[in-house]
Amino acid sequence: MARHVIAAADELPPGTRKFLEIDGRPIAIFNIKGEYFGLMNRCPHQGAALCEGPLIGLAQSTDPGEIEYTKLGEILRCPWHGWEFDIRTGQSYCDPRRFRVKAYPAHVEPGASVVKGPYVAETIPVKVESDYVVVDL
């Protein structure tokens, strides 16, 4: 597993997402309320650019008429056929047994560890005093 520095933390504020390709793989990194998530940007259903979809919640129901809406902003809805995926795990809610999107752990590392460590920041001029969003894949 390699680590890739993909942005300075302040370049990816809460509510934004960033599209990139690492070694030819389409990926998107989301900042949701300060938490970072990375997903393969290809829907396992028919291949849409999944991460262009809106972030919604999860509507669930125990009985007709009883509706619970949870995980607000944590469910990614595919821009084509609307399949829903949990952004934390990449798990599909349509057919969780068979479909999941590949999830990549993303988190923030202090600048010092990034420049010292084994990670190379190629495209971002590294300022040691900043924090960086790092993705593992």
């Binding site: 960033k18 690492i22 070694d23 389409p26 998107a28 940007n41 259903h45």
Partner: protein, 369 residues
């Protein structure tokens, strides 16, 4: 390590298919209402501004059911220059035609002028849409061919529009919708079939429409999901009507294309029709042969929404009954339930059938060299 950053995910679009395909259901949209004005008499421009359109059912400012996505379209299909999905030729080329190697794209404009109570306005709008299809689309990209949109509730003016366009290579079929004032086999629609047969043009019946009747046979449902599955029920009654009113018998060269309503139901409908026809044929003596024979000889089916059973053998069984020579591949671009060419057909299809499915059948039916 190689990292590339992108503003949007555009370049990370799905896998392209290499072989050429036909896409038999593409929906071009107008960027603005005024886009049609150059093709509409001042009298009708004025009418639209002052009175708007008056359909056979209410809620015409929007569809009767909310759609799953804005304009019922893919979220990634907004053209970069603005306007609704499907309104930009250059973006359609970039997003659909080029990457998927579309050799023939059949345009089926919706929300045109069909199913409007004022029949003169309906005819004028349909004619304007047909001019607009040539100017904005087919004359600019030779891969695209248009469907003649007609004011369907007035069979005579519809037939006149078809005769006027007959022989124009920009057009490859006549377009009707599945929900009309009456079932499609009824006599008011016969002039349309007669003109289409004379012109050698197939008649496409696309799901949807505003005929004023409840959108399922058992009334108005609560949910959009019921409308979605209701399209196949509606198409089944349209097809039964075409057979039982004797349309296929009377117009033996007529070719019908069932668009966007599935095809998995075709065998069971035909079996049921054949069975009751054996018992009740004296009621409809003009139906001279078992209904399944007309259906298999005179009906084609577009694939989107592609049937998707758990076992692919089930799909192949259905297709075998219908005939591999009867299916026309379609994406339904830019709509949200779009079928991706490289993903819809399961493995296990031989090369000839695959070629017919993706391209050959469409070229033959629509007379494209």
């Amino acid at each position: 390590m190689n990292i590339q950053f992108r503003e949007s995910s555009e370049a990370a679009s799905p896998l392209a298919v290499k072989t050429a395909i036909a896409d038999c259901d593409i929906h071009p949209a107008r960027a603005t209402r005024a886009e049609l004005y150059p093709y509409l008499a001042k009298r009708w421009q004025h009418h639209l501004e002052v009175y708007g359109v008056h359909a056979y059912q209410g809620m015409m400012e929007g569809p009767p059911y909310p759609k799953a996505q804005p304009n019922a379209s893919r979220r990634d299909a907004y053209p970069p220059e603005g306007g609704p999905q499907g309104s930009s030729l250059s973006f359609m080329q970039k997003q659909l035609l080029d990457p998927n190697n579309v050799q023939l794209g059949v345009l089926n404009p919706l929300n045109t002028g069909q199913g409007i109570r004022n029949h003169e306005l309906s005819a004028a709008l349909c004619s304007a849409i047909n001019d607009w299809q040539i100017d904005k689309w087919t004359s600019k990209d030779k891969r695209l061919k248009a469907s003649i949109v007609v004011g369907n509730e007035d069979g005579l003016s519809a037939a006149a529009e078809i005769r006027e366009r007959a022989g124009d290579k920009n057009f490859v079929q006549v377009l009707l919708l599945s929900r009309n004032v009456e079932p499609l086999g009824q006599r008011r629609y016969w002039p349309i079939y007669q003109a289409a047969e004379e012109a050698g043009l197939p008649v496409g019946v696309h799901a949807f429409g505003f005929g004023g009747n409840p959108i399922t046979p058992s009334g108005w449902p609560s949910y959009y999901i019921e409308e979605m599955v209701g399209h196949s029920q509606c198409q089944q009654s349209a097809l039964a009507s075409l057979v039982l009113e004797g349309v296929f018998e009377r117009f033996p060269k007529l070719k019908m294309v069932m668009i966007e309503a599935g095809f998995g139901w075709a065998p069971s409908l035909a079996w049921r029709l054949d069975k009751v026809w054996q018992r009740l044929r004296s009621e409809v003596p003009h139906v001279k042969r078992p209904p399944s024979e007309y259906i298999r000889e005179q009906v084609w089916w577009t694939t989107q929404p592609m049937e998707d059973p758990e076992r692919r053998e089930d799909l192949f069984d259905v297709i075998k009954w219908i005939g591999w020579d009867r299916l026309l591949f379609a994406t339904d671009y830019p709509h949200w339930d779009y079928d991706e060419p490289s993903r819809v057909l399961p493995a296990g299809v031989n090369d000839d059938d695959r070629e017919a499915f993706y391209l050959g059948n469409a070229k033959k039916l629509y007379g494209i060299a």
